[in-house]
């Protein structure tokens, strides 16, 4: 929803745009047009929710991890993602909205999370594909966001990118081991790539031409590169990695363009893209219900912690 900039004080708006153009970070205390704030409220909270909801498809396999090493790596990885969620909720709170409010919007369907997590993870190979492809796509996006104009968000991205690349390597290693395993493991790895390839391309969002938020957020340097550029970077990086370990990208039209130096792919199935965004993916309901249930089942614990905290404070004051 584009905000009516004409309502804003032109002088402040000009100063604000000048800071942006001069690559000066905007900090929580600084003046900002309402549209800028709302844009970030939507984007940072969605990013935070995605990290937390993303714990579920991987949590689905942590109890069936096939080795001590892979179990430790997966537990640590999911824990990192939860930690990323924390960084991002803190960044989002600097915009004047509490985490409870953000969670309420999520539960009411008013806020979203990355719709790639609405796909199921039916096999162990998905732990490889999610690390390699989904985290891989997220990294391309987050490296670019390190240069976002809003200070807290940019700093959160710098910290997250350090850990995220580690996750991508772990995911790729799972695929590599499986492609060097038995016939069943190779088939499982290829099947997983077949299911996750297109959803990871969809993570970059619609073509810029039909992306509602794109242009304004580019102007405000919230977003530094276009959806299609970022997607292309991901494709060019990932296709050779697949070929290196004998995996076949599920796209008959995939070919390398010598002149441009880029891979060309078929277009994305945008019906599926919008269908899953609208809430009709395989796991939309399951993910949200799971998050709501954990939140509601935990209310008594949060209330107890608050009540206990109050009692201690009162004791301190009266002591």
């Amino acid at each position: 929803m584009a905000y009516d900039l004409s309502q804003e004080d032109p002088k402040k708006l000009a100063e604000f745009q000048a800071k942006i153009d001069a690559e000066i970070k905007i900090e929580p205390k600084d003046w900002m047009p309402e549209g800028y704030r709302q844009n970030l409220i939507r984007q940072i909270s969605q990013h935070a929710h995605s990290e937390v909801i993303g714990m579920q498809p991987e949590g689905n396999w942590v109890s069936r991890a096939p080795s001590l090493r892979s179990k430790k790596i997966l537990m640590a990885k999911i824990q990192d993602e939860g930690g990323h969620g924390l960084y991002l909720y803190c960044a989002a709170e600097t915009l004047g909205v509490s985490r409870d409010q953000y969670l309420q919007w999520l539960h009411e369907g008013k806020a979203k999370y990355a719709s790639v997590f609405n796909y199921p993870s039916p096999t162990w190979a998905d732990m490889g594909a999610i690390g390699w492809l989904v985290d891989g796509a997220a990294i391309v996006n987050q490296v670019s966001l390190q240069r976002t104009s809003y200070g807290p968000y940019s700093r959160a991205m710098v910290r997250i990118c350090m850990e995220e690349s580690f996750h991508q390597r772990q995911g790729y290693e799972i695929m590599d081991r499986m492609m060097n395993g038995n016939e069943a493991q190779r088939k499982m790895a290829q099947d997983s790539l077949d299911r996750w390839w297109w959803p990871s391309l969809m993570m970059f969002g619609p073509h810029d031409s039909d992306s509602a938020h794109s242009s304004q957020s580019m102007k405000w340097k919230i977003k530094r590169e276009s959806n299609d550029d970022l997607r292309q970077q991901f494709i060019d990086k990932t296709v050779p990695q697949a070929e290196l370990i004998g995996l076949k990208i599920p796209d008959p039209n995939l070919k390398f363009n010598e002149e441009t130096g880029h891979y060309e792919t078929s277009d994305i199935d945008w019906d599926e893209f919008w269908n899953v965004i609208k809430g009709n993916g395989p796991c939309n309901k399951k993910r949200l219900d799971h998050h709501k249930k954990a939140h509601n089942d935990g209310a008594w614990v949060r209330e107890a912690a608050a009540a206990y905290g109050l009692k201690q404070k009162n004791k301190l004051q009266t002591a």
Partner: protein, 250 residues
């Protein structure tokens, strides 16, 4: 093979293996994000302790590795406490289970730091820092819930009542324990029982909770491979890929 040392090492290893498995199952289910991360952290510590002990047990047995021990044994060859098999019914059971085990781990590893078996002593030296933190964390939660709201007091009291019967096993002394204790390798469970009772009483008192009494409840304990009916379903998940693709490495 030194059967007693093998079994004693697995008793320590399997408590960490199965409890970390229950904590892994609880990922994304905690009352709030910070607690989810903290519980996963506890799980990672326990899994790390378990891995080191499983490596040692594999060497004692010979011919197998720690992954085989973790994922391929028959149910009756696992020697963990019944307590760690209890499912994550809700947060109250998760934290009550953790607290009752943390108190034991703290006093047990405190003694094992001086074990005559260097491998076990080495694990204990690393673990003592971790379990000290675990104990502080879960004690604080028992106190928060005990002295929080009426509802939290009632619920955490019930969880402690339900799990109490599983604590007896912690202190069961059998020939394996006795033999290794005499050799200065295993801990003295009678001493630990007193320390445990005292610490638990302290925390429950501060939490304004009452200490349940302790029925002796089982005939064959996990320490001797006699498990609760929860174990079979846990192993069905944990061993799934190992059972289905026995030769595969991952």
């Amino acid at each position: 093979m030194n059967d007693s040392l093998y079994k004693y090492t697995l008793r320590l290893a399997d408590n960490g293996l199965i409890l970390s498995h229950r904590l892994a199952e609880y990922i994304s289910c905690a009352p709030f994000l910070e607690e989810d991360l903290a519980l996963t952290n506890t799980g990672l510590d326990l899994l790390g302790q378990s891995e080191a002990l499983l490596k040692y047990a594999a060497e004692i047995k010979g011919g197998v590795d720690e992954d085989w021990l973790a994922f391929a044994r028959n149910e009756e060859d696992y020697f963990n406490f019944h307590m760690v098999e209890y499912p994550n019914e809700d947060y109250g059971y998760v934290i009550a289970r953790q607290f009752l085990i943390d108190v034991f781990n703290y006093y047990n590893y405190t003694q094992l730091v001086d074990s005559k078996d260097e491998r076990i002593a080495a694990v204990a030296k690393k673990a003592i820092k971790e379990v000290t933190y675990h104990l502080r964390r879960s004690s604080e939660w028992i106190i928060r819930l005990g002295d929080g709201t009426e509802e939290s007091k009632t619920r955490i009291q019930q969880c402690l009542e339900d799990l109490w019967m599983y604590t007896d096993e912690f202190f069961e002394v059998d020939e394996v324990q006795e033999e290794l204790h005499k050799q200065g390798i295993a801990s003295d469970l009678n001493v630990i029982r007193k320390q445990w009772n005292q610490k638990v009483a302290e925390v429950l008192e501060e939490a304004t909770l009452t200490k349940p009494e302790k029925p002796k409840y089982s005939l064959v304990y996990g320490k001797d491979g006699g498990h609760t009916e929860y174990m079979g379903f846990l192993l069905a998940d944990m061993q799934y890929l190992k059972n289905r693709y026995p030769e595969a490495t991952w």
